[in-house]
Symmetry: C2
Subunit: 83 residues, 2 copies
């Protein structure tokens, strides 16, 4: 398993309620892919979403987003957390 | 206080050791600005750094980075954490 940060750019902004629903769909979908969406942060007016996810690889994380709600991240980076 | 996610783009990559040192400088500097750098994630090869920070405003967060080590974020977004 590895840690990834993904970034979504939503033209015109995004509502936190819609992102909460999408995240719930991720949680319902992820177990079949050995993926865990851990935390996420939303800039509603700016239309940015950052998702921290533990996954075997970036494609597995993207697959969960695609299957759960279709909104695949625009960027995804393998990260380590600093201490 | 408000929550922000900032993003640094480091051409040619970045070493986690250098980011750890920069973060320690942030921690030593932030109290004078009512800022708290909370967590951060690093993509060494891709040269990306994401910092989660609680601050009165984006400029205060940027000021701490500037004063601590000079590496001001390329992007900074006001965010709320989804639950």
């Amino acid at each position: 398993m590895a840690l990834f940060m993904d970034v979504h750019h939503m033209d015109g902004g995004v509502s936190i309620d819609d992102v909460v629903k999408a995240h719930q769909a991720d949680l319902a979908t992820q177990s079949g892919y050995d993926v865990q969406y851990l935390r996420y942060w939303v800039d509603e007016a700016g239309g940015k979403i950052f998702c921290l996810v533990d996954a075997p690889d970036a494609e597995a994380a993207n697959t969960v987003h695609r299957e759960a709600h279709g909104l695949v991240a625009d960027e995804i980076y393998p990260v380590q957390e600093g201490v």
